[in-house]
């Protein structure tokens, strides 16, 4: 298993919530003072709210919009970057 699971673009879906992600990045500084470590829920251009857990944000999103794409992200200065074993640099 030494291939890179994330190398090929061909079998990966296009990014569906890119506009919401960009909105999040653009407004992150504004969110940080009052909502650090909370989870923001964004639908389209609307910031719906901030919640104490991912589960609460997810439940609220499902209640408001049903089972459709919506954007949830933890509010923190630096976004987590996920590593896989191929990312190890010797």
């Amino acid at each position: 298993m030494e291939d890179n699971y994330f190398e090929s673009e061909t079998m990966i879906m296009p990014i569906v919530l890119e506009k919401e992600y960009n909105l999040f990045l653009n407004r992150l500084k504004e969110f940080l003072p009052d909502h650090h470590d909370q989870f923001v829920l964004i639908k389209g251009k609307d910031v719906v709210g901030f919640y104490d857990s991912y589960e609460t944000a997810l439940t609220e999103g499902l209640k408001r919009f049903g089972n459709v794409p919506f954007f949830i992200k933890e509010v923190k200065e630096e976004e987590d970057v996920h590593f896989f074993h191929q990312g190890i640099v010797f």
Binding site: M1, D3, N4, Y5, F6, E7, S8, E9, T10, M11, I12, M13, I15, V16, L17, E18, E20, Y21, Y54, E55, L58, T59, G61, L62, K63, G66, N67, V68, P69, F70, F71, I72, K73, E79, D80, V81, H82, F83, F84, H85, Q86, G87, I88, V89
Partner: protein, 143 residues
């Protein structure tokens, strides 16, 4: 009392530590599907336990079969040493009825050339103990 699973794997070195799991939409999503009187999909898949992965990932096949919709994005670090954005989804992960994680945020990965449809990362392993027993060609996972 912790729930423990031991899998005998004759090709442990060649194939890595794999196990069978069941993936479903997350519990809150299942509740919504039931409200909408829609069928709740589930899928049994082969998963590789990957201690080198910081988070759990699923194949596009899983995304499509479970009819998952994105709940956000996540950054992954790739072999070209740059971060890239991927869709993030929420699922429930079941080893059996006694070891069940009702909400997991997972990423989509390209697993088309592999015989697995899920990478189990350290976000799952943080809840348990994983033993890789090379001489016995078996793995044990306890929660």
């Amino acid at each position: 009392m912790p729930k423990s699973f031991t899998f005998k794997l004759p090709y442990l070195r060649e194939n890595g530590p794999t196990c069978e799991i069941v993936l479903k939409p997350s519990d809150p999503t299942i509740a919504e599907l039931r409200l909408e009187k829609l069928q709740v999909p589930s899928l049994g898949v082969a998963a590789l336990i990957d201690t080198g992965a910081s988070t759990t990932a699923i194949s596009r096949k899983v995304v499509e079969r479970l009819r998952l919709v994105p709940r956000g994005t996540a950054k992954v670090f790739t072999s070209n040493k740059q971060s890239e954005i991927r869709n993030a989804f929420d699922v429930a992960l079941e080893f059996d009825t006694d070891a069940y994680i009702p909400i997991m945020r997972v990423l989509e990965a390209n697993l088309q050339d592999h015989s697995i449809d899920c990478l189990i990362g350290r976000d799952v392993l943080q809840y348990g103990t994983f033993i890789y027993d090379g001489p016995a060609q078996q793995i044990t996972l306890s929660f």
